[in-house]
């Protein structure tokens, strides 16, 4: 097997190859090739189907993770030996290259066989495992080809095959790592500084985003996303089951549907999450059981028809958000997206911020909505000044013009601020004329006219504002005794 070729033979002064040696190697070479064919056939005829078989196949298969490191190390050793062997000082290394290649081929084939055993019996299926499997097979073939080519003086083809092989080892090894440690195992614990430098985005969940207004989207999918999709998601479908979308959930796994609409007890999914955690069928296997509230939610949802259109508050006795310790979610600010959102108004906003420092700003770092607070300027802020804000009027969601010198002349401009949620006109000279103009503000939730000369004649118009929650009318012509509709009475604050 470790017969040196002529070059290395000359360099090291060892004997030339014997005929008998070639013959032995000829036979040896075809054993791995035959094995490879067998594995290829196995892979094609019996692909990993996500079904778990707890038998000797899996027992043997588990050794894959042990054996697999040999072909990796041995194969990567070859280019090192080749390069080092070019220097006269290390020329003797060339003698060992064929031996190493042979070992690598045998190890690669062994790893491939064991890999098939594990994939077939360990309940694997999905994109990752397929890629890893074919990568491994191809690699063992390349190994073999290199082994064959090296003594035959086909240096160019050999070099190309070797380079291909190195690339393939890396790729297949990475896929293997993803299989065992998770899809983002290399970057998962990357320090933040390095992450920023390399622009590595933190990985997002791969689950299909469901409509958050449905019970499924708001309450059920988040449980699956948090607890199940590492094994039943895009990259791994153990038991041939995926829980990363509603369609996939309905499709079920290897034993058919896991959910029986309306029948909780017949649903395999429910059975498995409620088993004692020591049971063989228990899910999530090897992890913390689902909490009582999570189980209850799934139970209620299946019982109510397991639909993805059921509205979020349709199930009355569902454990409320507070029973499950409801955590507030913090949304990450994406500066690029925000910049894009603001791009149309940013120049105008920057100009106004320069002209009127500290009174105009974005609602938040993640928003393109604007807040205008001119109340601190008091009498120094008048109709003319407000006019400057006309170009961005429809982006203002909160406007505080209290104590400013604006008059009814500004009514038309205020009426164009159609997205206003909050409007404060406390202690201004504004009269009913302005308020009667504001019917277009259909997003208004809070209107404050405290200390103005507003009279009850505006009340019918106020009643028409669809989203209004509070109308602050203290110290105005409106009195607590004014007759108003019951609906409006609840919104009036004195």
């Amino acid at each position: 097997m470790n017969v040196p070729n002529q070059n290395s033979g000359q360099n090291s002064g060892l004997s030339t190859p014997s005929r008998q040696g070639s013959l032995i190697r000829f036979r040896l070479e075809f054993v791995p090739l035959a094995c490879m064919l067998v594995v290829t056939l196995l892979v094609i005829l019996f692909p990993p189907d996500g079904n778990e078989r707890a038998d000797w196949l899996q027992f043997i298969g588990r050794f894959h993770t042990l054996i697999v490191h040999f072909p990796i190390a041995l194969f990567l050793l070859v280019p090192v030996l080749e390069l080092a062997g070019r220097r006269p000082r290390f020329a003797y290394l060339q003698l060992s290259i064929n031996f190493v290649l042979g070992l690598a081929t045998v190890a690669a084939v062994a790893a491939a066989i064991l890999g098939w055993c594990l994939a077939r019996s360990g309940g694997y299926s999905g994109r990752l495992i397929t890629q890893h499997m074919w990568g491994g097979l191809l690699l063992s073939i390349i190994c073999w080809v290199c082994w064959m080519l090296r003594p035959r003086e086909l240096r160019m083809i050999y070099a190309v095959a070797l380079a291909l092989g190195v690339g393939l080892v890396t790729w297949t090894g990475y896929r293997g790592g993803q299989l065992s440690l998770g899809p983002n195992h290399l970057t998962e614990h990357m320090p933040n500084g390095l992450r920023t430098l390399l622009r590595v985005e933190p990985s997002a969940s791969t689950a299909v985003i469901a409509d958050p207004n449905t019970f499924y989207g708001a309450r059920i999918q988040p449980i699956f996303t948090a607890r199940c999709i590492t094994c039943h998601g895009r990259d791994k479908h153990k038991g041939n089951l995926r829980l990363d979308s509603f369609q996939a959930l309905l499709r079920g796994g290897k034993d058919g549907p896991v959910i029986h609409t309306g029948n909780t007890q017949a649903s395999d999914l429910f059975r498995r999450i409620t088993l004692p955690s020591s049971h063989d069928d228990f899910m999530p296997k090897g992890k913390q059981p689902l909490t009582a509230d999570e189980v209850r939610l799934i139970e209620l949802w299946i019982g109510a028809g397991a639909s993805d259109t059921l509205v979020v508050n349709a199930i009355k006795n569902a454990p409320s958000g507070s029973a499950i310790p409801a955590e507030v979610t913090f949304v990450r600010v994406d500066p690029d997206a925000v910049a894009k959102l603001r791009s149309t108004i940013a120049p105008a906003v920057a100009q106004l911020q320069k002209q009127f420092p500290n009174i105009l700003d974005y609602d938040s770092r993640s928003s393109a909505d604007l807040r205008l607070n001119a109340s601190m300027l008091g009498g120094r802020f008048g109709d003319r000044d407000l006019e400057a804000f006309a170009p961005i009027a429809e982006h203002i969601v909160v406007a505080d013009l209290s104590r400013t010198a604006i008059s009814d002349h500004s009514a038309a401009l205020i009426a164009t601020m159609t997205r206003l949620r909050v409007l404060r006109l406390m202690d201004t000279r504004l009269t009913d004329a302005t308020l009667l103009h504001l019917e277009s503000l259909d997003q208004l939730e809070s209107l404050d006219v405290y200390g103005t000369a507003i009279t009850p004649s505006v009340l019918p118009m106020i009643a028409k504002l669809p989203k209004l929650l509070h109308f602050y009318a203290g110290e105005t012509g409106i009195q607590a005794g004014n007759s108003v509709s019951k609906d409006l009475a609840g919104k009036l604050v004195f």
């Binding site: 310790p325 409801a326 500290n358 700003d361 770092r365 109340s375 601190m376 602050y472």
Partner: protein
């Protein structure tokens, strides 16, 4: 290089002839060869490279230390208080924090415990005492029922004692957290924990964090104003409104409760505003030179503070002057212009809130009801304390509400810990007056305003009001919740100091109390 050596040589010769004392220095210069230069050049370049790389890898390391990995709080150093938007849409824009220094007894105000009343005067069970540390209780104390009758108030039917007749009218706007917990049972560290998130000195107070994160809208007033109500300064001292390791421009500005709000703010006689202006310009010039020479950001802070003082001359006096309020409003608060009182401060707080001040911190004092003397007895001095805060607090809430300000203001009321259901027996003997010892295990804090559920109670203590049985809320949880209402993830409002992204909620995990969010 060789040229310079020649020049240095001739210069040395001259100096030697004139007997100059710089001979040694020049000789040293000469001794420095090209090799020295090149070697140090290599090292220097390497250091520069490392420095440049380090700043890339660790984005939060920069000269001023004001940048953070997550959010950028940098501003023009000349306007360190300029407003910045919150991280996400905020429910509240400003905070009025009413701190009752000394720890008011929750059992005489908000915690209705009929079982404790029933067992009044009996020996405290041993289980209450095992493994506990008390400030003064020793031996076996007696249980002490509430000294005042309780009743349900408002639409929400929350329990409240008869000591707060005005506040009970606002009870439907209030969210009680009855399961507050702390790990400090002495006043100063407990107050520090409530204010800075840390029981030790040197950390920025809540107001400093908020002004650092959000700036302030009104540049003519400080963003963080502190008002004391006469009596004594809280045990925690001025550290309670200190900026800790944040730039000192973010510290609370303590204003006087009577007389001029800020001493020496007015121009002295014979000094006109324009003269003051030119004086400040000259000082700023000198400060700029100092800053250019030493690069200390505190120099810029100093310039900014002079400038603010100049602008405040116009506005602060007006904002603090409650005589400008109509008599009816003064009566509503029970405020009497000219005296140092909590009532006056509540009214000032409303005026400051209107004027865009970000964080208004009010202190009241004397709530340490041990019963060691009449002033701090539950049956005597405690009544005065209740009277002093009841009407102004209620007036503040209703006034803010009618002006529409309560919907984006957060009002917080609370002390630094709670009081025991046992009567204090200092020295193991029955004391002349009725009092309770410190209880860090349970106390009540209430919130009112934007983003908070109104008319609810969160959390629960046992039948004796001694320990929490449901939904404990740590101080850091309260802080995280308040920051959430202000539009921040409490992890993101941070400042790099001593190698750590320091934050108000410190290092233990804090949770936003989602149950009380509206």
């Amino acid at each position: 290089m060789s040229d310079s050596i020649v020049r240095a040589q001739t210069a040395t010769d001259r100096k030697i002839q004139s007997g100059s004392p710089t001979e040694v220095g020049l000789a040293l210069l000469q001794a420095r060869t090209r090799r020295h230069f090149l070697r140090s050049l290599g090292g220097g370049l390497g250091t520069l490279f490392l420095g440049a790389m380090a700043s890339k890898f660790v984005p939060s390391v920069n000269a001023a230390g004001t940048e953070t990995a997550a959010l950028d709080f940098r501003r023009d150093p000349r306007t360190p208080l300029s407003p910045l938007p919150p991280e996400f849409t905020a429910k509240v824009r400003r905070v009025i924090y009413l701190h009752m220094a000394g720890a008011p007894s929750q059992l005489e105000l908000f915690e209705h415990k009929p079982d404790l009343k029933r067992l009044d005067g009996q020996d405290c069970p041993a289980s209450f005492l095992a493994g506990k540390r008390f400030a003064f209780i020793s031996g076996v104390p007696k249980l002490l029922g509430s000294q005042y009758p309780f009743h349900q108030a408002g639409q929400s039917g929350q329990w409240i004692s008869d000591r707060l007749p005005h506040l009970e009218k606002q009870v439907d706007d209030i969210c009680f957290i009855k399961s507050m917990r702390t790990d400090q049972f002495n006043h100063a560290p407990a107050q520090l924990l409530v204010h800075t998130g840390n029981p030790r000195l040197g950390y920025p107070s809540f107001g400093s964090w908020v002004v650092y994160g959000l700036g302030t809208e009104n540049q003519n007033l400080p963003g963080f104003i502190v008002l004391l109500s006469g009596g004594k300064t809280p045990d925690g001292g001025k550290q309670l409104w200190s900026s800790g390791f944040l730039p000192s421009v973010y510290q609370g500005v303590q204003c006087r409760s009577h007389g001029e709000p800020v001493l020496y703010l007015d121009n002295p006689q014979g000094v006109s505003r324009s003269l003051r202006r030119s004086m400040l310009d000259t000082i700023a010039d000198i400060d700029q030179q100092t800053y250019a020479a030493f690069g200390n950001p505190e120099t810029v802070t100093r310039i900014a503070q002079y400038e603010m003082a100049f602008r405040m001359q116009m506005e602060a006096t007006d904002a603090m002057d409650i005589r400008k309020e109509p008599v009816s409003v003064l009566a509503q608060y029970g405020a009497k212009p000219g005296e140092a009182s909590f009532a006056n401060n509540c009214l000032v707080a409303r005026r400051l809130a209107e004027r865009g001040v970000r964080f208004i911190q009010l202190y009241h004092w004397g709530w340490d009801s041990h019963g060691a003397d009449a002033k701090e007895a539950l049956n005597l001095g405690f009544n005065d304390r209740c009277r002093e805060v009841d009407q102004p607090t209620a007036a503040l809430l209703s006034d803010l509400k009618s002006r529409g300000l309560l919907e984006d203001t957060l009002v917080v009321w609370g002390g630094e810990f709670g009081r025991t259901p046992m009567r204090e027996n200092r020295g193991g003997q029955e004391m002349k007056y009725v009092g309770r010892d410190h209880n860090p295990g349970a106390f009540t804090v209430w919130l009112a305003g934007g983003g908070v559920k109104a008319g609810i109670s969160h959390g629960q203590t046992d039948e004796m009001g001694y320990e929490i049985v449901k939904d404990p809320v740590e101080i850091r949880d309260l802080h995280a919740t308040m920051l959430y209402l202000l539009g921040f993830d409490h992890h993101k409002l941070n400042f790099r100091f001593q190698g750590l992204e320091q934050k108000l909620t410190s290092v233990k995990p804090a949770r936003v109390v989602a149950e009380i969010l509206a």
